[in-house]
């Protein structure tokens, strides 16, 4: 049970970032290599609002989300929009540049020392035989609600259909009266909000350090690839799946004989993804018709 709870904690974090990535890369088909930095921006902004400016948590978190969305919007206007119509790989270069700029800015503004949004120990309680803190429960519930809410919106409503239409064919969608450019911006801003939510999650559950950005996006890439590109549900489910696998790998006494060394925790999960993709290249939830 403890492993399941741990998987949910780690999975919620991974799913938030994977959701952000699924939107820009999976849906829009644009690379945003600065997404990991936007995660940090969200986390650090919330830390600043709560610990320096003294706002309560319920105001600090929305403020952090808005900051994340804002930075994502600026990223889109300045670093992506002028380039991505020319060649879809151009933002790859421009957002790498942005990620370096943001790395430097974060170091300058928030220093190298680790920061925690909610410092100190959390009171844990026993729930079905596993230990969990109320903060973690709220984080898990909050993540599930916004992610599944959005996945529902995206896959099962008229608004979602519009977004998907724009993704499939810009001009065709516009000829049907859909405002494609503003939807692109919306997708990008939303991805920033999800990423910022992930950063806030880290800042509350663990702590923030300026070098965190790159490693956390790797698992997100794995999740959206395994989940099937363009499939929002798939990305979320796979993020949870990978996280759960990672916990199970180190937490279980395999066949009552041996433990897998903790150093292999991440490797084993990614290995699983590779094996899976060899068997089903379109991803776990991907279908041929959708991967246009």
């Amino acid at each position: 049970m403890q492993l399941l709870i741990n998987g949910l904690i780690a999975g919620s974090l991974a799913a938030l970032i994977a959701a952000g990535l699924a939107l820009v890369y999976g849906v829009l088909g644009v690379f945003n290599l600065a997404l990991g930095q936007i995660v940090l921006v969200g986390g650090y902004a919330t830390w600043w609002f709560c610990q320096v400016a003294g706002l309560p948590l319920f105001l600090g978190i929305p403020a952090g989300l808005v900051t994340g969305g804002l930075v994502a919007w600026l990223t889109f206007i300045l670093f992506v929009k002028p380039f991505y119509k020319h060649h879809r790989f151009l933002p790859l270069v421009t957002t790498i540049a942005l990620s370096m700029i943001l790395d430097g800015l974060i170091l300058l503004l928030f220093q190298e020392r680790p920061r925690s949004i909610l410092p100190g120990m959390k009171e844990t309680m026993l729930l079905f035989g596993g230990r969990v803190s109320s903060e973690q429960l709220v984080l898990i519930a909050f993540t599930l609600v916004i992610l599944f809410g959005f996945a529902y919106l995206f896959h099962s409503t008229a608004v979602g259909r519009r977004i998907r239409a724009v993704v499939q064919h810009d001009h065709a969608a516009m000829s049907l009266g859909i405002n494609a450019p503003s939807l692109h911006t919306l997708i990008f801003v939303l991805s920033g909000v999800f990423a910022a939510a992930g950063g806030i999650f880290i800042g509350i559950d663990q702590n923030l350090t300026p070098t965190l950005a790159f490693p956390i996006t790797i698992k997100a890439y794995a999740a959206i690839i395994a989940g099937g590109k363009g499939n929002f549900w798939g990305a979320i489910v796979c993020a949870y799946l990978i996280a759960l696998l990672e916990q199970v790998v180190v937490g279980i006494h395999w066949f009552g004989v041996f433990y897998i060394p903790a150093g292999y925790q991440q490797t084993v999960a990614l290995l699983f993804i590779i094996v899976f993709l060899l068997l089903k290249p379109t991803g776990i939830f991907g279908s041929v018709s959708r991967s246009a």
Partner: protein, 373 residues
């Protein structure tokens, strides 16, 4: 005429880049010593001239710096490097040229075997593991759980603890974790069916160490924690809160240089602050650089400028009365006398010094059991 020519001493340290704070502090301290010696008339009537080179905290730059100091400046001896990579990079060159090199603050265990002419005034990292293991013996801890971040430094500490464990003690839990990972919850669940007396969070950064300590306590484990110098960080209470309360760690004293060594003299730290303000990194590094320069200049004053003579003098030295403490060198050029002290978190502050039995009861064991409720 030749008698009046200044005698050159080289300095290597990181004067630019991320580690430049070490460089600035140690160079300032070395300058202080040289100026004092010169004000007192120099060595044998000759003034001492310091030639500083930037080692940029890398082996390659330090090697170039050593080459320049030895071949072009013709220095008598070298103080440096500061980063272990610098000391190790410069060592083969100094060794081949027969020039004594004294590193003030390098801690890598590899420095011990870097060469015959290589000395240091900072205790090797290997000592930390030995001190930690000794402490286990004192407290009667026999079952040790260690969680190690997979980096050279942390693995080195783990290995030295394991090698030095007292008779009858064993490591019952020994796991390496991916560098930078901060989620140990599932790994910690393994400890539930296990008996252990003490937990060693052995991480490369305080961010990771804080996560280890916090998640242990959150899972309800109340065993005491003992760690190395990464835990000697004032950031820990602000990220892990009361989880680190009562944790012990072994590191070089942060009070080095703060107290006068001889009756009536001014403490080194006071003189340093007067000339250079507060140290950029820490006073301990500055005072050890001051002493490294001091012991070297004393050797030169005693036996002259010949490399082998200086080396033999340093090996034969019984005791040098430095500003940081009284020390000598062992057969490998390792400092003896400057060691680690035990520190602990008490009410969110780092406290060091001799612990009386009474305070152990109040702050040590007491705090450990209070943490989780």
């Amino acid at each position: 005429m030749l008698e009046k020519e200044p005698m050159k001493i080289g300095y290597i340290g990181p004067l630019t880049g991320d580690a430049s704070a070490y460089g600035v502090d140690t160079l300032n301290a070395v300058k202080m010593k040289v100026e004092e010696v010169n004000a007192a008339g120099g060595i044998g009537g000759r003034q001492v001239q310091l030639v500083a080179e930037d080692g940029r905290c890398t082996g390659g730059d330090a090697a170039n710096a050593a080459r320049k100091l030895i071949d072009i400046d013709k220095v008598v001896a070298i103080i440096g490097g500061q980063c272990s990579s610098e000391t190790l990079g410069a060592a083969p060159i100094a060794e081949a040229a027969g020039i004594v090199q004294v590193s003030p603050v390098s801690s890598s265990p590899d420095v011990a075997d870097a060469g015959d002419f290589i000395f240091r005034t900072y205790p090797s990292d290997a000592l930390k593991g030995i001190d930690i293991a000794e402490y286990f013996g004192e407290k009667g801890y026999t079952k040790v759980a260690i969680m190690t971040e997979n980096t050279d430094y942390c693995v080195g500490i783990r290995d030295s603890i394991k090698a030095a464990l007292p008779e009858g003690a064993e490591v019952v839990f020994d796991e390496l974790t991916e560098p930078g990972v901060k989620d140990f919850r599932s790994l910690i669940t393994r400890l539930e069916d296990m008996e252990f007396d003490v937990f060693v969070p052995n991480a490369q950064s305080d961010a990771v160490l804080g996560a280890m300590a916090q998640q242990m306590r959150e899972q309800g484990f109340e065993q005491p924690m003992v760690s190395q110098d990464i835990a000697d960080s004032n950031n820990l209470p602000s990220i892990a809160g009361e989880a680190v309360e009562g944790m012990r760690m072994f590191n070089v004293s942060s009070l080095l240089g703060e107290e006068a060594r001889t009756e009536g003299a001014r403490p080194f730290a006071e003189k340093f602050r007067e000339l250079h303000g507060d140290p950029q990194q820490n006073m301990g590094f500055a005072v050890l650089a001051y002493d490294a320069a001091g012991v070297l200049l004393e050797a030169i004053a005693a036996v002259g400028t010949e490399g082998t003579a200086i080396r033999d003098y340093l090996y034969g030295l019984q005791a040098y009365e430095g500003a940081a403490g009284t020390f000598r060198f062992d057969a490998k050029g390792e400092v003896v006398g400057i060691g680690n002290v035990q520190k602990r978190f008490e009410n969110g502050k780092i406290v060091e010094g001799v612990v009386t039995e009474e305070t152990v009861e109040e702050t040590g064991t007491g705090a450990d059991t209070d943490v989780t409720e």
